[in-house]
Every structure is written in structure tokens, then in C-alpha cells.
Chain length 216, copies 2
DNA sequence: GCCTTCTTGAACTCATGAGTTCAAATTAGC
DNA sequence: GCTAATTTGAACTCATGAGTTCAAGAAGGC
């Protein structure tokens, strides 16, 4: 019986009993939803991916809709942590500003183009009509916080006289737009690989335009 | 019989026989796919919307996948026409450049945020994994052409000395990024209305940053 | 060791939706 | 008008997937 399951699931022959099933289910759900989309994703497939029986999912999370909500909350939390860490690397002084901006931009882009990052964006957009609350939660709890953090760092640089940012929030939005604006189109919303050199070029170009607009 | 169909379909009591069924089917398909997504859209619903019987769809277009491809090609063609017309309004002289840029930006944004525009983007992204050829066709046939047209106009302004655009293609990309970058997030990929004043603000801000970066 | 609690597998039910079939009705071409 | 092609409605088939049920099995607490 265990052997049959192990053959169907990539997961190791899971220990039985109540361990960290819930976490395993959420991780598997994120992966399968990301790969197949909400509609095409099967609860059975998620169960297999998690190395768990189907009723266990219904015990823990009640149903597909609720499972989706919980999985998205988990994914959003993970993503937010990463992005805020990336913003933390923002330069605080004008010393080698161009290089500093490129480094942060690269970190931010890496968050965006990671499989997890794309999965989150794609599902948010795709299911925005069906799950508006999920969209709002991620957007307000996540997106706004990130923008605020970025704006704060830009304001510091403005204060130090190395940038001209009368409206730091706007500058933060345009920074993100210039850096990440083309990623969706270029990678087909994360379904294509982007050559390293192309990525570096996009970032360098974005930083350049940003500096042309907001530098002193 | 005709009365029963008219009750189910919003379409007028269609004349029978081989008229413009195909066009009606494609228009209905665009609408239903846009509203419900590929997976949730039902062929039966499309038939009802088109005021046509289900077998007629299979006669004309063979199946759901093919119907999707044809509908997307139609939608892309319509969209491209509109966008290229918008680019045509681009200023060619430096006279009142700011106002001219805002006007074009507004036209471009209007194409983007129209229900048809969002439908196209959303479906392209959502189904990029399942229909990569559709994505490529629209992206290369449409996106590239639009970017080229925009770059051409920017190059003229550069030549006239009112803009500093060593790389017109790059400038075109950044123009679009600054103008349309936030629209997806703000409108939840077109599922929310955006207040007119907010939209005007986004455009004005985008043009301002663009001029700061590329103006003389 | 024992009892409670959770997990499992397997076989269900039930709804939905793609695609087909076909005789009857309708239309277009002439 | 007459004929050939097309459209229609309605009733199919068939596959898929959500959610449930239940008896048997496996931890974990004591």
C-alpha cells in the first residue's frame, strides 16, 4: 500500500500520523496550483504531491476553495519576507549609487522571477475575479508594505542629496515599473526562461533611466 | 422555438441559415473566454451568447481548443489595429510636447484597459503554458510591431532635438512601462474599475518621469 | 499495553462539461 | 418552387474531478 503510493508520489514514503501534514499539503498545493492553475489543479494531484491521502486534505482544510486561500496566504507570506529582505539591501548612501541600485534591482527581480514569485502573481491575476479577497490581502498587506519600504529608502537618498525625489512613493512605483515592467511580457508570465545576459541588460537599462529621471 | 432561444440568449432572434455565424461565434467566444477564462468557459455558453446551436460551433471551428485559437487571433487583430491607430496620434514636433505625450499615453492606456484589451492580456498570460503558439503570435506579430511604431515616433523627436533618445527602442519600452506598469496591479488585471482622476494622475506622472529621463 | 485520535485507501455519489448523433427544419442558390 | 447545404434542438456518451463514506491501520499520550 505504501509502495503503491510511493510510486505515484515523488514524496518519500511519508511517516504516518499527525506530523506536519498541514505544511506538506500547503506546499504541495502551492506547487500544483502554480503549475496547473486553480481550475486544472486536482485535489487528488495535490494529495499525491504532498504524500497524503485525499480525505486528509479535507480534514485539514475543508475543500478546494479554502485550500487555495490557505495556500495563497502561505505563498504570499513567504514572498513578502523575501522581498522585504531584498529591499533591506538598499543603499543608504550615495557612494557608488549606480552599483547599489543595480544590486537591489537584481534582488527584487530575482524575487519576482522565481517560480514561486511568478506562481503568486499569475494566480493572483488569474483568479482575481473569483477570489477578490485573496487579491486584496496580498496587494494591501504585501504590495503596499513593499512600496512603503522602498519609498523610505529612496527618501533617505533624497534627503542625502544624491537623488531628487519630491514624491518618494511615486519614485518607488516608477523604479519598480522600470525594473519589472517588461518581465511579464518577456517571460510570458514566467513560463519562459530569460537568458542571464538579457536579464542583466533589462536591469541595467532600468537603473539608467531611473537615474536619468531622479538623479542629481 | 425561436422564442425559447431568444429567452436564453441576449442576442437578437438570429436569422437562420449560413450568414455570419462564424463571426458571431468568434465574438461570443472572445466575450465568454474573457469573462470566465479558458477552463471555466463552456462551449454551450458561447453558443448561447452567439445565438447559435452547439453543433454549429463544431462545424465551423472544430473544437474548444481551435475555437480558442481563432478567437484569440481575432481579438489580437482587433486590438493591434486600435493600438497602432493610437500610436499614429503621436506628436511629430516638439510643440507642446508634454500635452502631446499625455494624449498618446491616454490613447494607449485606453486600449489597454478596455475590456477587450484586458481580456486579451489576461488570457494570453493565463494560457501561455497551454497555448504557447498563441502567445508568440500575438507577442511577435503585435507587441513587436507596436514597439517598433512607437520607437519610430520617438526617434523622430530625437532627431528634431526635443528628446534625447540614443536607443529609441529602449525609450519606447520604458515609455510603455512607465505608463502601463501599474495598471495591472491597480485594476487587478482589469477586474476593478479605476477612477478617472487616478488614471489621469498615473498618466501625468508617467509622462513627467519620461520627460525627466529623456527630455532635453 | 491500551485507548484515543488521526490517517489511509478504496470505492462510492454527483455534477459538469466536451464532443457526437440524427432527424427535422430552414435557408441559399438557381 | 426545388434542391442541396446548413442549422437546429434534444438527447445522447464519456471522461473528469469534487467531495463523502467507512472500515482498517498506524501513531501518540498515558
Amino acid at each position: 500500500m505504501s509502495a503503491a503510493r510511493a510510486a505515484a508520489a515523488p514524496a518519500p514514503p511519508t511517516a504516518r500520523g499527525r506530523i506536519d501534514k498541514r505544511q506538506a499539503i500547503l506546499s504541495a498545493a502551492i506547487e500544483v496550483f502554480a503549475r496547473d492553475g486553480y481550475e486544472r489543479a486536482g485535489v487528488e494531484a495535490i494529495a499525491a504531491e504532498a504524500g497524503v491521502a485525499k480525505p486528509t486534505i479535507y480534514n485539514h482544510l475543508g475543500g478546494k476553495e479554502n485550500l487555495y486561500r490557505a495556500a495563497m496566504a502561505e505563498a504570499a507570506a513567504r514572498s513578502k519576507t523575501k522581498v522585504l529582505a531584498a529591499v533591506d539591501g538598499f543603499p543608504t548612501t550615495g557612494e557608488d549609487l549606480r552599483a547599489g541600485l543595480r544590486t537591489v534591482a537584481r534582488s527584487l527581480v530575482d524575487c519576482h522571477i522565481s517560480p514561486q514569485g511568478w506562481a503568486l502573481s499569475r494566480l493572483l491575476y488569474t483568479e482575481a475575479a473569483r477570489f477578490p479577497e485573496v487579491y486584496d490581502e496580498v496587494q494591501t498587506e504585501g504590495g503596499r508594505q513593499i512600496n512603503e519600504a522602498l519609498a523610505g529608502r529612496l527618501a533617505r537618498l533624497g534627503n542625502a542629496g544624491v537623488l531628487r525625489v519630491p514624491d518618494p512613493v511615486l519614485a518607488a512605483r516608477h523604479f519598480m515599473a522600470l525594473i519589472t515592467g517588461e518581465l511579464a511580457a518577456r517571460t510570458a508570465m514566467g513560463t519562459r526562461e530569460l537568458p542571464e545576459e538579457e536579464l542583466a541588460g533589462i536591469i541595467a537599462d532600468g537603473v539608467e533611466t531611473f537615474l536619468a529621471a531622479f538623479g542629481t
